[in-house]
């Protein structure tokens, strides 16, 4: 680093930024000063880049799907799959969201690191990757900017930055949008990106299949004339929805990357699926709903949230037992919201935010039990 950026230098106020760009290009020649003389070659940059890469399949598919859904809505079923054309349409729609999410979020992150005299934490790279994928593609950019600023400042920096936050910043962005600008976040207009002056085809709807589940399986089957709502459609992801959430296949590729590298916890993913299946099955048995269990797992943001957001190591439970409980809670609450709150069917956002809120309590219970058990064992011995 140039001297003027070091402590006492004229441009010291920029040192975090310079350091962030410098270390982005190469691993610096910093050597260990205390403790272990050799260190693992893994660092947060590597972990974050793997997390970001795992989202890429969902993002790419999502961009294509934005174009495809537009084509369906405008020209009806039978619209060409046109991989490049649809992708380009979606790419141009999603790119501004990425630009806004990264520029606003990183600017705040850099400034905060500067104020704390710390190096810039890579955590936001993942949040910024997720945010455009969980908001409606037509969300006005200024709203997104305000929401990102809110989430990063009040969800993260006030707690001390990445690692100290209680809630997942990406979900907080969405929650902020949802509660502040509900008109843009639900209803049939939000989920399909039209050009100016274009109109929906007769009988076509922008409503997502998820918003139909309150009315039962029949309503779901006839959700929109232009797109299919079979299990296969939902698994592949050719349905309207947030950009990244629709394709279960793309999400599973991401899940494989996360699990193979050990970046995310398989316990949270598995227990979340168990929790959701159990509640969905109970809903079926008790007659609350006739949506099949598998359908629930493929619908809406469940898969995306389970794989990429519930597993955030900072905001999820820390202990192994805690992870089982936390994942189960997230999955179960998601389906409970879907079954009993027809007004707003997407339960995953609230389920994970609630799970984040309870994670410290879950851990506290697990750790206290552990301590109590240890003390008891000791008394017996």
């Amino acid at each position: 680093m140039n001297k003027i950026f070091e402590k006492g230098g004229k441009l010291y106020f920029l040192h975090s930024t310079v350091d962030a760009f410098e270390t982005f290009l190469h691993v610096p020649g910093t050597v260990t000063r205390k403790g272990s003389h050799v260190r693992d070659s893994v660092d947060l940059k590597r972990i974050m880049i793997i997390a970001v890469l795992s989202v890429v399949p969902a993002a790419l598919f999502g961009m294509w799907n934005v174009g495809y859904q537009h084509a369906l809505a405008v020209s009806g079923p039978g619209a060409p799959i046109d991989i490049l054309g649809n992708f380009w349409y979606g790419f141009l729609k999603v790119l501004p969201l990425y630009l806004v999410a990264y520029i606003v979020g990183l600017a705040i992150e850099f400034a905060s690191s500067q104020i704390r005299h710390e190096e810039v934490n890579e955590g936001y790279l993942m949040s910024g990757m997720l945010i455009p994928l969980i908001v409606p593609v037509d969300v006005p950019l200024w709203m997104l900017a305000v929401a990102v600023a809110f989430a990063v400042i009040f969800g993260k920096e006030v707690f001390g930055g990445t690692g100290m936050n209680i809630w997942n910043p990406a979900l907080l962005t969405r929650a902020f949008l949802f509660f502040s600008y509900p008109n843009h976040m639900s209803g049939s207009q939000s989920w399909i990106a039209l050009r100016k002056g274009e109109a929906l085809l007769d009988g076509a709807t922008g409503a997502t299949p998820l918003s139909m589940i309150g009315d039962g399986a029949d309503a779901l089957a006839n959700a929109g004339v232009q797109y299919g709502t079979s299990l296969a459609d939902m698994f592949i992801g050719t349905i309207p929805g947030s950009v990244g959430e629709t394709s279960v296949i793309a999400i599973l590729i991401g899940a494989f990357i996360l699990l193979y590298t050990g970046v995310a916890s398989w316990k949270i993913m598995v227990s979340s699926v168990i929790g959701a299946s159990l509640v969905a099955w109970l809903g079926n048995v008790s007659g609350v709903s006739d949506i099949p269990v598998l359908m629930h797992l493929c619908l809406g943001g469940f898969a995306f949230g389970t794989v990429f957001m519930a597993t955030d190591p900072v905001t999820s439970a820390q202990t192994e037992t805690g992870k089982w409980i936390y994942g189960f809670l997230v999955g179960a609450i998601c389906i409970i919201v879907r079954l009993f709150n027809p007004g707003y069917a997407e339960g995953m956002m609230l389920a994970i935010l609630l799970g984040n809120t309870f994670a410290p309590l879950i851990d506290w219970c697990v750790v206290s039990r552990h301590t109590a058990r240890r003390n008891k064992k000791v008394k017996v011995a």
């Binding site: 050597v31 050799v38 693992d40 893994v42 590597r46 240890r374």
Partner: protein, 452 residues
Amino acid sequence: MSNSINLKKGLDIPISGAPKAQVSFKCALDVVAVFPSDFKGLTPRLLVKEGDAVKAGSPVMADKVHPEILLTSPVSGTVKEIVRGEKRKLLAVLVESSQKQEYVDFGSTRPENLSAEQIRKTLLESGLWAAIIQRPYGIIADPALKPKAIFISSFSTAPLAGDTAFTLAPEFEFIQAGVTALSKITDGGVHVSIKDDEFSGSAFHRLENAILHSVKGKHPAGNVGVQISHISPILKGETVWTVPVFLVSAIGKLFLKGKYDLTRKVAVGGPEANDPAYAEALPGTPMKAFSAFWGSAEGLRIVSGDVLTGKAVGENGYLGFFDDQVTVLKEGTEPELFGWAKPFRFNQFSSTRSYFSRLCGKKRYNMDTNLHGGPRAFVMSDSYYSAVLPMDIYPLYLVKACLAGDIDKMEQFGIYEVLPEDLALCEFTDPSKNDIQDIVRSGIDIMIKEMA
């Protein structure tokens, strides 16, 4: 009697430069140093002045709180220099060794025939009392206490550690005598842990007056702290003692031969060591005596101890009292272009699967001292760290309690059971590059201060 402990968690760091099973040379006796800082909890009072003649075993320092605890000179000769630091803090006593070694005679007797009181007295007078480490906190043992038990690990799993089957099997007689002596000063018995895969073939399994345990697993399975937590965890108010196995041999030698002789086979290894092998040396031997293993120390880091817990003493430093290892590493000051962003990084080891080094099988790596990243807040969850800590504690909770200086929480999360060395692997794998051992050490210091 034997108990078997099978540890699943842990990590053997595949660093290159393991020592060959041969003693290359015996370090020449020149100037030997006695460092009070090797002994945690000792406040030194000087007993000699420059120019005094000493024998091997003559006291040079005493503890201010327990004046009966002595530190003695490992060689005979004259006191060359008394090294003081800021505010005249006593740093070291340098003894220039004489040609002919003379030993203080502590009287040779078989320890079976001695009473506990006599054993304590001999250990204190000879300076070998300082070899006893007291847990919790890893401080010098309090002679007024009677510990719950004494624990000895007969092997080390630390990276590039010497093989005790090679270094100590010939000294079996002394180790037996040392174990017998130690068994007299505790009611709880002496627990000796033996490496599982050589249990029946190991010389140590014939030890008497000891309770044997076979331990299997990766590092830190050889750490005595980990073994204690599986044999009999340390509770609040309890104290246990531990003695490194090569010092048990020295204790045996003290009783059988009547002299203070701390000669040990030091494993010299590391990626930058030429022909890594063993060398015989005393504690306080200058690192220069080992320099045949590295030639020029330019750009190298010379560590007294292992790569996880050792001290970077440099080429002008000295071998620590509790060290039987010297590691030679390259200083990793070279920036690595696109390091973290390379898809493969075959020459860098990672315990995670985020690189593909796991696919390289049993490859050994020329590791250097590069930090491989910058310091960050803790991001990964507790289970990431507990994967390399085979103890019944939550490492991240303990570390955070230490950071907060919260005594109740530290107690609750097991501060009595650990020393920094036990969490060294957590520090190694930490992607946030925190100095975990240092954090634990400061937590322990708070405990010592507040609980005294």
